[in-house]
């Protein structure tokens, strides 16, 4: 039976995050934390493989204790085990440090045949985790995977489609293999009542810096990160264009058409 790892992240719904125009800082209060959307696609891809070939699925995340919620979502649609990595020592980790910690914590339930990640997150959006996790696991890598066509367990190979800029590649890869999953063909399923109920009471395996065996403290958190964010600032808002206000939507629409005609665009 295939052993599968699905890596997920809880993210703020960035479309609802606003910036304080005075302080320039982000207003996070009241913004819901959600399962990173593409991680939902990754989870769905893993569940489809499990349905077709048989598999044990471990879902893993790193984050604050509340990130447990996204693991319960994974459990509700087919994950067999969930691992929460949480410790203040992991704070401010970039992808270099995070991929190290996630791979270390996942080892306990490995080795894995297949590892699934979303293509990128809504918040950090670096899209680097998949490639760096593949490096930690020493696995083959297929990024932007849009469809898993076939898995040959006897030969330890699989065939997958990859969504490229100008078309679709068909790629054969050796197992173990890590995929970053595209949204296209893996719309997440809605959990049924039974799944939801089971997920609510399922045990979550929790690991901290001191309970992950062999963790090198110099490679975690801010100190283990390759990158830092020394400062942030609000995007410069350009000078506003000419505001059209003719008193009604009807007249405003007509005014645009007039401008288009004057500039020779129609």
């Amino acid at each position: 039976m295939l052993n599968i790892l699905v890596c997920v992240k809880q993210v703020p719904d960035v479309d609802l995050v606003k910036m304080d125009p005075v302080t320039g800082s982000l207003i996070r209060e009241g913004v819901p934390a959600i399962l990173n959307p593409l991680d939902g696609n990754a989870m769905e891809a893993a569940v489809r493989v499990k349905e077709q070939y048989g598999a044990t699925i471990t879902a893993i995340t790193m984050g604050p204790p509340a990130a447990e919620a996204v693991l319960r979502e994974c459990l509700s649609v087919g994950a067999d085990r969930a691992v929460l990595i949480t410790d203040r020592a992991f704070k401010d980790a970039d992808t270099l440090a995070t991929s190290y910690v996630v791979a270390k914590a996942a080892e306990e339930f490995g080795p894995y045949d297949l590892i699934f990640c979303g293509k990128e997150t809504l918040d950090g959006a670096t899209g680097q985790m998949g490639a760096q996790l593949a490096e930690r696991f020493g696995s083959a890598l297929v990024t932007s995977a849009s469809r898993i066509l076939e898995i040959d367990e006897a030969a330890d190979t699989l065939v997958t489609e990859r969504e490229m800029e100008t078309g679709i590649e068909t790629v054969q890869a050796r197992i173990p293999c890590l995929f970053t999953i595209e949204k296209t063909n893996y719309q997440p399923r809605i959990p049924n009542f039974k799944g939801k109920k089971a997920a609510r009471f399922a045990e979550i395996v929790t690991r901290t810096a001191s309970t992950i065996p062999g963790l090198d403290p110099s490679r975690i958190g801010a100190v283990g990160s390759g990158t830092i964010v020394p400062r942030t600032y609000p995007p410069e808002r350009g000078e506003s264009g000419v505001m059209i206000d003719e008193g009604s939507a009807e007249r405003n629409g007509a005014k645009i058409v007039e401008i288009l005609a004057e500039t020779g665009l129609i």
Binding site: V14, D15, V17, K18, M19, P21, L26, P37, L96, S99, L122, D123, G124, A125, T126, G127, Q128, A131, Q132, E135, R136, A140, L141, T143, S144, R162, G167, E169, T170, V171, Q172, A173, G226, T227, I228, V229, P230, R231, T232, Y233, P235, G238, S240, G241, V242, M243, I244, A249, E250, R251, N252, G253, A254, I256, V257, I259, L260, T263, L265, I266
Partner: protein, 333 residues
Amino acid sequence: MEKSAYKNMWVYIEHDGKRAHPVGLELCCEVRKLCDVTGDKLVAVLVEGLPEEELAKIRACGIDQLLVVSGTGYEAYSNDAYSNLFTVLCRKYNPSAVFVGGTINGRDFAPRFAARLNTGCTSDATELVYNPESGDIEFIEPAVGGKMMAVITVPVLRPQVGTIRPGTFRYEPTGEKPAVEVLHETVDFPVADIRTKLLGFVPDDADADLDLANTDVIVCLGNGLSGPDKLPKYRELAALLGGKIACTRPLFDRGILPFKLQIGQSGVMVKPKLYIGFGISGAINHTAGFAGSGLSIAVNTDPEAPIFGAVDYGIVGDMDEVCDAMLAALKAR
């Protein structure tokens, strides 16, 4: 090793044996400016097989060195061979920075070799600034969906690795240097160790509606769109103006329009003669995608929406009503 011991900035030139991908040339032009400040050499790194006229385009960007790689394992792109190649080359030459075009394949191998070298990797910077005090490059990029700009640096480790999206910088060659040094390296990667194999490639259907790159007029729809039932009027408007409809990320996320129609840094970068945005808040990720357009117009209910700072004309109002009014006015002509 002290970070000051790492010298020179590299740009990887992705190519298909016929043409260099434009992003490599764009990066050479931009990194040239950094090297002029730091005194580093600008090195273009590529796998052999590019015709002379394409090499001339790279030289025209003012590179100091051309590092040409030969060896086994590079006939088709693979994560294994390219991750190994840059690990080997960086260990030998110790560059200060490595820039890789943020194509799907560039984003596939750059983070991996960065992790193998145990160094920092950034993605999608829209601005590169050298900080003489720290000696680090500041990779400046939109963050949290474009709600803020983040400065990212690699303060201790080297090389500083960055992937940059195609179209972020301009190809404005400053001219060939009198002496461009050409270095040759052979790095063999055993073909048997490549764990992925390309079996086939099917180009996307040439669906004209999905090709935004050469479109003069774009009617772009944002999260303000109430639902797919409202699409027909915008399609009609686009058709009357001789253009096509496009969207921002939330509409793709909502499953209303396909990814190929997403304008912005992670989607398509466009420069139409006319851009009209409806119901778009104007996150920098999106506005960067149509910068340089001819005439730009935005309609949004929120007078504070950042989109109004990125367009020539703005209208505060209901997008559907303004669209209806435009349709009526166009038909009355």
